[in-house]
């Protein structure tokens, strides 16, 4: 291997790129140590995703309920007998259907807005975290950290938080809506369709939450990495 050599013969070496695991180790430590600040960042994502999940779950339930009503109607059309409860179900479903559909669409929009707001919140929170750590980042650069390493630190930290918070957010939203529906409609709607949709939505929530946190961190991480070490050293605590 030939290395670049200065005019006088000194070998010029390049800093190695650290393995990913090192960055993971340091970011996880950083989350643990700044636990409460991390929790606040996470809470923003959690609430956004909880709202999103609850709206989507409501839609799942409405669909399940509709299927159930349709089945009863079919039974009726075939001349089958319905219990008194089923009759009430069919009647109330007919009355609610339109309203529910309209409210559903409105909520879908709201949940998307909520996610956008929560993305802005994460950006803000990560920017503050960068400002808080100006000196620390500058010091790390003096000790030989590459820009790419600083970027990795912030991305790993936020994506990890984003992922965990999204899953928890899903669980919260899912649980709230499921309990409400359980009280309203009974156990019959909790069929295979419900479980399949729950699983799908869990994956979806985690993915959306993580991607949004990732997007929200691009600017703060870039700012942290590009900061010249002197600026960081001058910064008062």
């Amino acid at each position: 291997m030939s290395e670049p050599v200065s005019a006088s013969g000194t070998v010029i070496r390049r800093q190695i790129k650290l393995p990913f695991t090192k960055a993971v180790e340091i970011s996880l430590k950083s989350i643990r140590i700044r636990f409460w600040r991390s929790m606040i960042t996470a809470a923003g994502i959690l609430l956004g995703i909880a709202f999103f999940a609850s709206v989507r779950m409501s839609a799942v339930f409405s669909h399940a309920q509709q299927t159930r009503v349709d089945e009863k109607r079919a039974t009726l059309a075939r001349g089958g007998k319905l219990s008194a409860e089923d009759v009430i179900l069919i009647n109330s479903a007919a009355a609610n259907a339109k309203e529910e559909a309209a409210a559903g669409t409105r909520l879908q929009w709201l949940s998307i807005m909520a996610l956008l707001v929560c993305t802005v919140g994460i950006t803000n929170s990560m920017l503050m975290s960068v400002t808080e750590r100006f000196k620390e980042i500058g010091t790390m650069k003096c000790l030989g950290a590459l820009d790419s390493f600083i970027v990795k630190l912030f991305f790993i930290e936020s994506c990890f938080l984003g992922f965990i918070a999204s899953v928890l957010g899903f669980v919260v939203g899912w649980l709230v809506i499921s309990l409400i529906r359980l009280a309203m409609d009974g156990v019959e709607v909790f069929g295979p369709y419900f479980w399949m949709q729950s699983l799908r939505l869990c994956g979806q929530s985690a993915a959306i939450g993580t991607v949004l946190t990732f997007l929200a961190t691009i600017f703060p991480a870039y700012r942290a990495a590009k900061m010249p070490p002197v600026a960081a050293l001058r910064a008062e605590v």
Binding site: S8, R13, R14, Q15, L143, G144, L233
Partner: protein
């Protein structure tokens, strides 16, 4: 290691522009520093010591002029080469210690070895060895907030040595310490200089530094006012300390 100079600066100029005024924090500084030397940069506040420190340490780019570290022009280095230099060749000590507050003493000292790609075990071993060297073998797992100023600066010194640098740059290492603690830190730096042959470049107002320095560079308004050998200075130290008392 044939080359005689570790650091050479040539016509260093650093300008700061504020509005329509430009201020020359450094105004043509040319300085050659020998390998293994203990050199103090003295001068009043605002004379440009920190600016010189930042330029020599590759923390800030000069407006013109060049810095050579081991005969390599710093301006020709890319980011990755500069990072290598900061990691392996130069150790930094700051007036404000700049330890990572969320890490223990040992983790702070080990951090540069992580950046150097050393294995964890090796790094920890090195960290313990260095903390023992600076007399903090019993404080490995303390956070900076649980250490006194002098102890924090010792940790910082241990950290600066982590990757066996050939140069230690210290910007007012005793600036935030009381008289006795400052003296201890100076003695520690001097012993490192003597025993390990590390070149020490220290910016300071601290006249206690004069005693241990091989050369003293006096800076005024961004220019070198004079360079003195220590042997020419002995007679005058009493007089200087008299002056310090006036401040």
């Amino acid at each position: 290691m044939a080359n005689e100079y570790v650091v050479r600066t040539k016509d260093l100029v650093k300008e700061y522009t504020m509005g329509d005024q430009t201020l020359k924090a450094l105004n043509g500084v040319s300085l050659d520093i020998y390998r293994g030397e203990y050199i103090s940069i003295m001068g009043p506040s605002g004379s440009g010591k920190s600016t010189l420190f930042n330029a020599v340490g590759g923390l800030d780019k000069p407006s013109s002029g060049s810095v050579f570290i081991n005969d390599v022009d710093m301006a020709q280095l890319d980011a990755q080469e500069l990072a290598y230099l900061r990691c392996h060749t130069i150790g930094y000590i700051f007036q404000t210690f700049n330890l990572i507050p969320v890490m223990t003493a040992l983790e702070n000292v080990t951090l540069p070895t992580v950046f150097a790609g050393m294995s964890t075990d090796e790094g920890v071993e090195r960290g313990i060895e260095l903390l023992e060297l600076v007399g903090l073998g019993g404080r490995l797992h303390h956070k900076p907030s649980e250490l006194s100023g002098g102890q924090q600066q010792r940790v910082a010194i241990a950290r600066s040595l982590a990757n066996n640098p050939s140069i230690i740059l210290a910007d007012e290492p005793t600036g935030n310490l009381d008289l006795n603690t400052g003296k201890e830190i100076i003695d520690l730096l001097k012993s490192l200089n003597k025993d390990q042959g590390v070149t020490i470049i220290s910016a300071t107002h601290d006249l206690k530094m004069l005693d241990v320095s091989d050369r003293i560079v006096w800076i005024r308004d961004g220019q070198i006012a004079k360079v003195e050998e220590r042997k020419d200075l002995d007679i005058r130290i009493g007089e200087m300390e008299g002056q310090e008392a006036l401040h």
